[in-house]
């Protein structure tokens, strides 16, 4: 079934798929050491629940999900925890991250596995299993799947499965669909059970005829439809694929679920099946090793396998390899440490050479040719966004919808002046985010200041009120005293006391004098 809808723009970079799609998926041998990062998903990193020296079994949870948007992490094989420390991980920043290192004992002993009959267990139980099995979106965004597969009160019209794999060089989804279509479909059934969509559409680019055929066969007997989409980058972008298959656009700033659509990668469906029907946590994935290597191909490798080992398995990088790209050439980033491990997010490693990836020429000024605007799948005006980012006019960049940019790289790809447009947009986005944070902080500070002002005023007012009350009470008492004839009761009382004391003193003096007089009359001769 062909798709009827289109999205604006898009480009056709050379595909380079056949280099790695000729061989079947190879099982990578067990590595000596596995380095498992705690942060392999969007949201909070998992928190370790083992310590150094603990023995672990294959598939055992070694770090628990932390909070709502989070996922668990599991031991890829049996062995001993040798370290929990910072280690190089694949990330554009080249910064290290906390990882649990496991020395494998070579025995591959599984932990207890708990599959679930999803049709009788409630949806909450299934989602809890997905959370504890560490299922995250394997399309690259690694969003925790158990959060996504929750329709809430929303009626879901379409469940979209993303088998487009539109980036050049990458063939991991292609091979998975060719070889394990039945299991993918089993996973889709579970997803459909949770979401209860009206229709299920599986989008696959038309450069994967074997995968299309395999998935079509596997879908027989179900109501799932395989839809062929024309090869065009970035047809695998979530919003673009939804537009292609359903004709609907996800509104800016909202999620697909807001228009009754859910989109998941076909690889994620596979892991959902393994988790629910076999009780297996996510401990491996298919990864394409391609580019300037002797034997490019796909491997099923354990999470935590050092990427350099996988490159060696692919025949090793040729001598003129200059660097390595994680992901595809359009949106991938540089890998700076070959000992960084395979994570759930990595679907491809490309060994790059100057021949395969010529260095970019120096940038010229923008000539307003609008090739970028013509190729933008979000229908933005990249040349305007460039002018604004370049001149730090971030308000205008915001107004021209910079936040809708998906950083797909189509604009860079077509620019005759070789301007690094995506880099400018990333810069502007982070400046805008920093500005927003500062503004929020300033707003909070202002609120606190105003509250303090108000509080001080209120206290002052209360004190004044109290003083007024006291003064009023005193005045009232004074008034009452004046009404009963005494000028100043306090002073009057004082006067009375003084008078009384004076009287007492006079009285005593008089008494003393009288006493003296009586003694004199009784003793006359003594003179």
């Amino acid at each position: 079934m062909k798709t009827l809808h289109k999205f604006h723009g898009g480009v056709h970079p050379p595909e380079h798929k056949t280099e790695s799609s000729r061989l079947p998926i190879a099982a990578a041998p067990l590595p000596q050491r596995l380095i498992v990062p705690l942060r392999q998903h969007i949201g909070n990193p998992a928190t370790a629940i083992v310590k150094v020296g603990d023995p672990v079994l294959k598939g055992q949870m070694i770090a628990a999900a932390d909070g709502f948007i989070s996922a668990a992490v599991h031991a890829p094989t049996s062995g001993t925890v040798s370290a929990i420390e910072l280690h190089a991980v694949p990330h554009p920043s080249s910064l290290p991250d906390l990882c649990i290192s496991i020395e494998s004992d070579g025995e591959e002993r599984w932990t207890e596995r708990w599959p679930l009959d999803y049709q009788t267990a409630g949806p909450d139980a299934v989602r809890a299993l997905l959370r504890d099995a560490g299922i995250v979106g394997l399309g690259g965004a690694v969003f925790p799947t158990w959060v996504k597969l929750n329709p809430g009160s929303q009626k879901i019209k379409t469940l979209v499965l993303n088998g487009a794999e539109c980036e050049p060089w990458i063939t991991s989804d292609d091979l998975l669909m060719r070889e394990r279509a039945a299991e993918i479909v089993a996973g889709i059934k579970i997803m459909a059970h949770l979401m209860q969509p009206e229709q299920v559409l599986i989008g696959i680019e038309d450069n994967k005829p074997e995968a299309i055929e395999a998935m079509q066969s596997a879908c027989q007997g179900t109501s799932f439809k395989v839809v062929t989409v024309p090869v065009l980058y970035p047809s695998g972008g979530e919003r673009q694929l939804i537009k292609l298959l359903t004709g609907k656009e996800v509104p800016s700033g909202r999620r697909p679920i807001n228009i009754g659509v859910t989109c998941s990668n076909t690889g994620t469906a596979y892991t959902v099946h393994r988790a629910v029907n076999h009780g297996e946590a996510v401990i491996s994935r298919i990864v394409t090793i391609t580019g300037n290597v002797a034997k490019p191909q796909n491997f099923e490798a354990l999470i935590g396998t050092p990427l350099g080992e996988l490159v060696q398995l692919a025949g090793g990088a040729r001598p003129d390899t200059s660097h390595y790209i994680m992901g595809g050439p359009m949106m991938g980033f540089d890998l700076n440490h070959l000992d960084a491990p395979l994570t759930k997010a990595i679907n491809c490693v490309i060994a790059a050479s100057p021949a395969l990836f010529p260095p970019k020429p120096a940038a010229m000024p923008c000539i307003r040719c609008t090739q970028c605007a013509q190729s933008c799948p979000c229908n933005l005006q990249p040349q305007e966004l460039f002018w604004f980012s370049h001149s730090k006019n971030f308000d205008k960049a915001r107004a021209y919808n910079l936040s809708d940019c998906i950083e797909c790289g189509c604009c860079d790809y077509v620019c005759p002046s070789h301007i690094p447009l995506v880099s400018y947009f990333r810069y502007a986005k982070s400046e805008i985010a920093a500005q927003d944070r500062e503004k929020m902080a300033a707003e909070r500070a202002r609120q606190r200041f105003e509250f303090k002002q108000m509080r001080e005023e209120r206290e002052k007012a209360e004190k004044a009120a109290r003083m007024a009350e006291k003064a009023a009470a005193a005045a009232a008492a004074k008034a009452a005293a004046a009404a009963s004839g005494v000028e100043d009761p306090v002073a009057a009382a004082k006067q009375a006391a003084i008078q009384a004391a004076v009287e007492r003193a006079r009285a005593r003096k008089a008494e003393a004098a009288a006493q003296a007089a009586t003694t004199a009359t009784e003793n006359p001769t003594e003179s």
Binding site: F7, H8, V11, P13, P14, P92, P168, R239, K243, E249, V250, P251, S252, G253, R254, I325, P329, M330, M331, G332, F333, D334, A352, F357, K360, P361, A362, M364, P365, C366, I367, R368, C369, T370, A373, Q374, P377, C378, N379, L380, Q381, Q383, E384, A399, Y400, N401, D404, E407, G409, D412, Y413, V414, C415, P416, S417, H418, P420, V422, S423, R426
Partner: protein, 342 residues
């Protein structure tokens, strides 16, 4: 290195400029065939002047000379100007026009990508206003000329201003548009005028073939996605429609649409000048508005204005409105109901 890690192979500013220059070659060849070697001398002299002026300005502005000098944009400006002015022009006309275009209209406004007005048209306007007599001395088509000018004679005229033993009048002839304007003012009708020897099938003799070659070159640029259809189509359609309107009202005073499309700078303007990236709008609707404006003004200036052809002035006037057009024609963004409001 950040993403993306690949760019379109072989894509650069100089590739685009070279393709545009290539698209002009058929027209230049036909021009030479019908009007003699003067055009080749003009093109060469203008190109040299443009490159020298560009190199000088780049040095003064502390820009790296090599990448900008080799991007081809200066040569393109030179060719467009040379194709707009009389082919048998004195050297100082070519040099002044080209130098002004490059130095003032391009570099003093910010250089590549930053100029508001089309440099070639600014150069043309300056020459038209400063040297109106020289700018109207167009050579006759070789077929009609009393004395067809050869290569060395053309060279001699360009650099010395004199032709050996021949008066200039013997060589020059009024252009088709100029002829039409003058004759209409003398109360002849279009029908009478059309039979004069300077006119061919649609437009002027020889000139209409050159215009057809510009059309061909323009279609080549469209196919290669160097230009989009919006500006040429809206410009030519507006010109043709307005011409048809007036022609319908009074065919004896107003020439036919085909005449207007195939004379003067219409075809050159539609595909090569109005489509200049830097000075035209960036939005599809904007390009349509721009093309319509240029087409309308072109007709108005030709028919009701003082100049025989109005392409330069119509483009310059519309250039001034481009930032406004851009601000008000932003297209709808994915996931939004409408485009950015100014």
């Amino acid at each position: 290195m950040s993403s993306p890690h690949v760019l379109t192979p072989g894509n650069s500013v100089s590739t685009i400029m070279l393709l545009v220059l290539a698209a002009l070659l058929p027209a230049i060849a036909v021009y030479y065939f019908f009007f003699g070697p003067g055009i080749l001398i003009s093109l060469a002299l203008a190109s040299i002047t443009a490159l020298v002026a560009e190199a000088a300005m780049l040095q003064l502005r502390n820009y790296p000379v090599k990448p900008f000098l080799t991007d081809g944009s200066a040569v393109l400006t030179a060719w467009l100007l040379a194709l707009s002015i009389p082919p048998l022009a004195p050297w100082w006309l070519i040099v002044v026009g080209t130098a002004f275009a490059i130095v003032v209209a391009k570099h003093l406004y910010g250089g590549l990508g930053n100029n508001l007005f089309n440099p070639a048209m600014v150069g043309f306007a300056v020459l038209m206003i400063s040297f109106p007599a020289t700018m109207t001395q167009w050579p006759a088509p070789l077929l009609l000329s009393q004395h067809p000018v050869g290569f060395s004679e053309a060279l001699q005229y360009t650099f010395s201003g004199t032709l050996q033993g021949v008066k200039l009048d013997a060589v020059t002839m009024a252009t088709p548009l100029d002829t039409l304007k003058t004759q209409l003012n003398l109360q002849h009708t279009v029908g009478e005028v059309k039979h004069m020897p300077v006119f061919g099938v649609f437009g002027g003799k020889g000139g209409e073939v050159v215009a057809a070659m510009y059309l061909l070159g323009g279609l080549f640029l469209l196919q290669r996605r160097i230009i989009t259809w919006h500006t040429p189509v809206s410009f030519l359609a507006t010109l043709a429609l307005v011409a048809a309107l007036f022609n319908g009202i009074d065919p004896s005073r107003y020439a036919s649409p085909m005449f207007h499309l195939f004379t003067g700078g219409a075809m050159l303007g539609a595909f090569f000048i109005a489509t200049d990236y830097v000075t035209s709008p960036t939005t599809p609707l904007g390009k349509l508005i721009f093309g319509t404006g240029v087409g309308f003004l072109e007709y108005v200036i030709r028919v009701f204005g003082g100049y025989p052809d109005g392409i330069a002035f119509s483009i310059l006037i519309m250039n001034a409105t481009v930032p406004l057009i851009d601000a008000y024609t932003q297209p709808r963004v994915f996931g939004h109901d409408s485009g950015t409001k100014p």
